[in-house]
């Protein structure tokens, strides 16, 4: 299991709440089907697979959806090449959900199940969204609960769990005829086995360095607050700005900022985006500990180090069924390309090598491709 994959499995319950989020409290989401192929290539890891999403309303008050998602991982990442062997694995995830519209209120419920050979996760999410002030404002309250089971391949005696809760508050606001704003607050608490059962930290042993297993705290509580706006330009195009602040009790502090532009040209839409992310390290992170068992908690997970990431995106959407066809109202083919650069301030590249503690700092470039078809009916 890669570090990325482990975290992905754990966080899927948070992200799948996105699929369930209604576009507006007074109207159900559109009936649509999406067939997506995703591909990630970066740092010796390739992850690809499909994601299928179908959403259909029944009557005027209910909208149901189902999602099936697969990650097929082939990993020879920096963690793997320094302490383990390359491997391949697969994770599948299914979720179903329902939205119920009653007047200006939408209640949403979804359940998700994720499986891989050494990790399984289940979660339930609930939210209620209410329009107020004549539809100018939508307030959303949400709650999520997740339970994971963690195993370790090759060690049948190892088994542990993670329990997770998420509390969400959202507010979206019409500011002017041309401007929208949304604010989101989310608090997540975890309790259980939060590290990766395969990963090690390194420490100085007098000759160079040796490895020992990482040890994380068994609890984590994080808070994230985000503000996003969209502005309609004098011609048919929009710009959007977003900022998110994050903090947790592992002493990670992060800022995320993004700016984007969307411009339709007839049936073709172009999306451009730039995203900047920066974080400080967890207080128990070190690239190189001074000796074995140097402290009670030990991590050398690059996701917990001090680093920055930058992304540029090009998105193209082509409307190929503008007038509809048969029972289909509309169809689009979409291509999104993201290029991400991660630069680490205190995670060193042991694959290149060098004097202990003075190896070059690690960098990672990733290409992320999404190709998908969407149909409205």
């Amino acid at each position: 299991m890669t570090a990325q994959h482990l975290v992905a499995a754990r966080l899927s319950f948070v992200l799948l709440a996105l699929l369930a989020a209604p576009a507006s409290a007074g109207v159900l989401p559109d009936d649509r089907a999406d067939i997506l192929y995703h591909y990630y290539d970066g740092g010796g890891v390739t992850i690809e697979g499909p994601s299928y999403l179908v959403r259909k309303s029944i009557g005027e008050q209910f909208s149901f959806y189902g999602n099936y998602y697969v990650d097929t991982v082939s990993s020879a990442s920096i963690d793997v090449v320094t302490t383990a062997s390359p491997y391949e694995e697969e994770r599948t995830e299914q979720s179903v959900g329902v939205d119920f519209l009653n007047g200006d209120t939408i209640m949403s419920l979804s359940v998700t199940q994720s499986e891989e050979n050494d990790y399984s996760a289940q979660s339930v999410n609930f939210s209620i969204a209410q329009e107020i002030f004549g539809g100018l404002t939508t307030v959303t309250l949400g709650y999520g609960n997740g339970s994971d089971e963690v195993g370790r391949n090759g060690d049948d005696t190892f088994s542990d769990t993670v329990e997770r809760q998420a509390y969400r508050l959202g507010l979206s606001q019409i500011l002017t005829r041309n401007m929208l704003m949304s604010m989101n607050l989310e608090v997540i608490t975890d309790e259980g086995f939060l590290n990766n059962p395969y990963r090690s930290v390194r420490y100085q042993d007098g000759f160079g360095f040796s490895y020992q297993q990482e040890v994380y705290p068994r609890t984590r509580t994080s808070t994230a607050a985000a503000l996003r706006t969209r502005y309609y330009l004098p011609y048919r195009a929009s710009v959007h700005l977003g900022y998110r602040y994050f903090t947790d009790d592992w002493e990670i502090e992060a800022h995320t900022a993004e700016v984007g532009y969307a411009h339709p040209f007839g049936p073709l839409s172009v999306d451009l985006k730039y995203r900047y992310y920066t974080q400080t390290a967890a207080d128990f992170y070190s690239d190189l500990f001074p000796f074995e068992n140097a402290q009670n908690f030990l991590a050398r997970d690059k996701e917990l180090s001090t680093f920055q990431s930058q992304t540029i995106r090009l998105g193209l959407t082509y409307d190929f069924l503008e007038g509809g066809w048969s029972f289909l109202e509309r169809g689009t083919v979409n291509f999104f390309y993201d290029h991400i650069l991660f630069t680490y301030d205190d995670f060193r590249d042991l694959d290149i090598g060098g004097p202990t503690g003075a190896e070059p700092l690690y960098e990672l470039e990733a290409d992320v491709i999404q190709l998908f078809l969407s149909f409205w009916f």
Binding site: S24, F133, G134, G135, G170, S172, R177, L180, H263, F372
Partner: protein, 73 residues
């Protein structure tokens, strides 16, 4: 007495709040209803890309459109 007045003030604010006239009328929301103004135009795609980030970054949460959309209907 102060508490009662405070309570009454809150109640009156709440009640009058419910009757606030929308300063952007429903018929003035055509631009906001355009799909280029959606915070989450393609949920299957945004769920995936957030998944990419949350797997590689320490931060998590508040990435969604849980606040809803434009209330344009």
């Amino acid at each position: 007495m102060k508490r009662v007045s405070g309570f009454l003030l809150l109640v009156s604010l709440f009640v009058s709040g419910c009757s606030i006239e929308p300063w952007v009328k429903p018929y003035e929301r055509d631009r906001l209803a355009d799909e280029i103004m959606l915070f989450d135009r393609d949920p299957v795609s945004s769920a995936y890309i957030h998944h990419v980030y949350e797997a590689r970054e320490g931060a998590r949460g508040a990435s969604g459109s849980g606040g809803g959309g434009c209330g344009c209907n």
